[in-house]
């Protein structure tokens, strides 16, 4: 695969992450993999190298999409020794393996909503920052079962917040959209902060959407409980430095001034500031998750 094509692909992953969140991106990637296998025309001998090349690319995106990496590693194990001379039969096996990963992901997503619902109490005012599918689905479900609560949507780049605003609007969830830099004026009103993540690393960090670390800092200082939505697939065995957070340098000109600006795709949140981790198997407070996950 050419470097330019790899970079294009990585950008697509980031774009999806901005709009759909990690869970959504993982699902889209697996479904895309499945469809592209169905559309592929090649001989049986070429299938394995092509799949291996794609798998390696998917495992090394910038940043790494940890749930996807885990599922793809499972897929690799499942496919070991399964490639045969019958191309169509192998393709069917690949499709079957990918389908089982998609189903697993869906099940985890449903379980996350069950856990998430336990985090919402009546008359909560919840700050929401990222576009996490688990958080979105939880809010929708809580609203459907009639829990009264309000959401403060921190507006960042519109692409990243758009889906959250649509959901809140479309589902008639009581909400207020505020600029992320204006949170300090609303901090007294809020009593919870829900945050999504792309991965949790052994060095006690969470790879989160850009800007989340600042919001976490403000909430932590104001003693607002921080709930980090991270299902089991998001726990990584690699340190945060190995998560390939994308860095780009942009030359900009504004008001007759030219400058170069460095932008990262994600930021790192210290888990010491997180109060609860919401997983598919329940809500785990800080003291416990430190011991339980050996972070």
């Amino acid at each position: 695969m050419k470097e330019i094509d790899r970079q294009n692909l990585f950008k697509l992953f980031r774009d999806h992450g901005d709009v759909l969140g990690t869970h959504g991106t993982t699902q889209v990637a697996l479904e895309s993999f499945r469809r592209s296998i169905q559309d592929l025309r090649c001989s049986a001998g070429k299938l394995e190298p092509l799949v291996t090349e794609l798998v390696e690319t998917i495992k090394n995106t910038e940043p790494q999409v940890t749930p996807l990496v885990h599922l793809i590693e499972d897929f690799e194990k499942e496919m070991t020794g399964q490639y045969s001379d019958d191309c169509q039969a192998t393709k069917n096996k690949i499709v079957g393996a990918l389908t089982s990963k998609i189903d697993r992901l869906k099940t985890i997503g449903e379980q996350m909503v069950v856990s998430g619902l336990k985090c919402i109490d009546r008359y909560d005012v919840i700050i929401v920052y990222s576009t996490s599918a688990s958080i979105r689905d939880t809010l929708v479900q809580a609203n459907k079962i009639g829990k009264p609560f309000e959401v403060l949507i921190l507006k960042q780049d519109f692409t990243k917040t758009r889906k959250l605003i649509w959901t809140a609007h479309g589902e008639n969830i009581d909400h207020q959209v505020i600029p992320e830099y204006n949170l300090s004026n609303f901090i007294v009103k809020a009593n919870k902060f829900f945050l999504g993540t792309i991965s949790i690393t052994p060095d006690h960090r969470a790879v989160c959407p850009l800007g989340a670390a600042e919001v976490v800092g403000l909430c932590h200082l104001n003693k607002i409980p921080i709930y980090l939505f991270a299902n089991s697939l998001k726990f990584s065995h690699k340190p945060s430095s190995a998560h390939r957070i994308h860095e780009k340098h942009e030359n900009r000109t504004e008001g007759h001034t030219s400058y170069s600006m460095t932008i990262h795709s994600h930021c790192l949140v210290d888990l010491d500031h997180v109060d609860f981790i919401v997983r598919e198997d329940g809500i785990i407070p800080r003291e416990e998750f430190k011991k339980q996950f050996k972070l």
Binding site: D5, N8, L9, L12, H16, V19, S32, S36, L40
Partner: protein, 434 residues
């Protein structure tokens, strides 16, 4: 030609101002009219009488219908579905989008068509690592070709149809075939000269995967509004009604202008749209530009200037009908490539009428020559048609810079091909008719 000098000078100054984009073209045309009124070259009542209300009604009606239809999101949805159908095949992207562009521009104005199509084409091709320039240029060129096929597809046709009284069916029946051949010829040329770029990708798993991710991104990005099915049904029903009434014009006796404006008003009432907001989407400057030009050309006609041009320029070539037809086609084609084809068409209509008085040519062939020349000639350069300028502008906003020469390198050859096709078609048609 007594008293003709002043209107000629004013007309030429307006033409220069429009061509060099010194001022807004509507302002240029209306300022020219005001000078004529102040100098008593023409009186207000006469000036108003020169405005072809049929053309204005048709334009206003179609602009209103398109503005409402655009709100349904149906065209964007259609483009996304087409993107999905291509499955990332470069050749399919070219062919499928070209077919949609040609069909849409036959019934919508070309600028609206490229505004819908180009962003998705750029997103798709850049996301796949393809060079989007060829695709952008091809869609602009195809929109001009597609628009040539119908009465409502391109402003020159609207003007010719309204001023001469040619029906919607007459346009489709007479221009449908040559336009289809021009379309196929243009695509064939693009494929033959860029075969390497159109290689299939279905043997490359990573590319197929990228395309699937990209299509999902396009769905998320472009399908941002939920389709209101009731609104959509009303919109499409009214468009179908308008086309039906255009087609049955000879039976109903309703002119295209009356049809378009009636259906537009019906659609406003049915959809209950905010009229104030809707009016902001109507291109009033275009309507004012048309009105001003009609008056300027009307004055020249009244002063016998156009009669003089017809006799001393166009009829100098002799009385061979083949030469007359081909001259109108090629002169229209070349001039439209460099100048706005709207004022050119408005100027040419009285000249063609005079030519027909001296040398009757059957089956309206001279009008088809003018239509084909003015519409297809717009492809000659980047500034030849509004759709070209808008397409290049949109590409630039996506960091795809297309130079004048890059555009012309592709478009000029296609213009040549299409004008040759049109020449053959018109010659055969004339041979059969004589």
């Amino acid at each position: 030609m007594e008293g003709a000098l002043l209107p000629i000078i004013i007309f030429l100054l307006v033409y220069v101002a429009i061509s060099l984009e010194l001022v807004n073209k509507a302002v240029a045309a209306l300022f020219g009219v005001m000078v004529l009124l102040i100098l008593h070259v023409v009186h207000e009542r006469e000036a108003i009488a020169f405005i072809d209300t049929e053309t204005i009604m048709l334009l206003l009606g179609m602009m209103t219908i398109v503005a409402i239809l655009r709100r349904t999101g149906v065209f964007t949805m259609l483009s996304v579905r087409i993107a999905e159908l291509t499955k990332g095949s470069p050749l399919k992207i070219l062919i499928f989008f070209s077919v949609v562009t040609a069909l849409l521009s036959a019934f919508l104005d070309n600028v609206t068509t490229v505004l819908i199509i180009i962003p998705i084409v750029i997103e798709l091709t850049t996301g796949m690592g393809l060079d989007p320039k060829l695709y952008v240029i091809s869609q602009a060129v195809i929109s001009n070709i597609g628009g040539t096929a119908t009465l409502i597809g391109d402003p020159p046709n609207i003007i010719i149809g309204s001023k001469v009284g040619l029906t919607f069916n007459a346009f489709v029946l007479n221009l449908g075939l040559p336009v289809a051949v021009c379309f196929a010829g243009g695509l064939l040329y693009l494929w033959m000269t860029n075969r390497e770029k159109f290689r299939p990708i279905d043997t490359n798993l990573a590319k197929l995967f990228s395309v699937q991710l990209l299509l999902e991104k396009i769905r998320n990005e472009f399908l941002t509004t939920k389709i209101d099915r009731v609104f959509l049904t009303k919109g499409l029903s009214c468009l179908a009604l308008a086309i039906l009434l255009f087609v049955t014009q000879t039976i109903t006796g309703m002119s295209p202008g009356v049809v378009a404006l009636t259906v537009a008003m019906l659609l406003i009432m049915l959809t209950n749209v905010d009229v104030e907001h809707l009016m902001e989407e109507i291109e009033w400057t275009t309507l004012l530009f048309f009105s001003g030009l009609f008056i300027l050309v009307g004055v020249l006609e009244e002063k016998h200037v156009l009669e003089w041009i017809a006799h001393n320029v166009f009829l100098r070539v002799g009385d061979n009908p083949y030469v007359i037809v081909l001259m109108v086609l090629w002169v229209s084609g070349i001039v439209s490539g460099f100048l706005d084809n709207i004022p050119f068409t408005i100027t040419m209509i009285p000249i063609v009428k005079l030519m027909l008085e001296s040398h009757p040519i059957p089956n309206d062939i001279l009008w088809w020559a003018l239509s084909l020349g003015a519409c297809l000639g717009g492809n000659l350069t980047m500034i030849g048609a509004s759709a070209n300028i808008v397409s290049v502008g949109m590409a630039k906003r996506h960091n795809v810079n297309i130079s004048f020469l890059e555009f012309m390198k592709v478009s000029a050859v296609i213009t040549l091909i299409t004008l040759v096709v049109a020449s053959i078609f018109l010659s055969v048609y004339l041979w059969v008719s004589l």
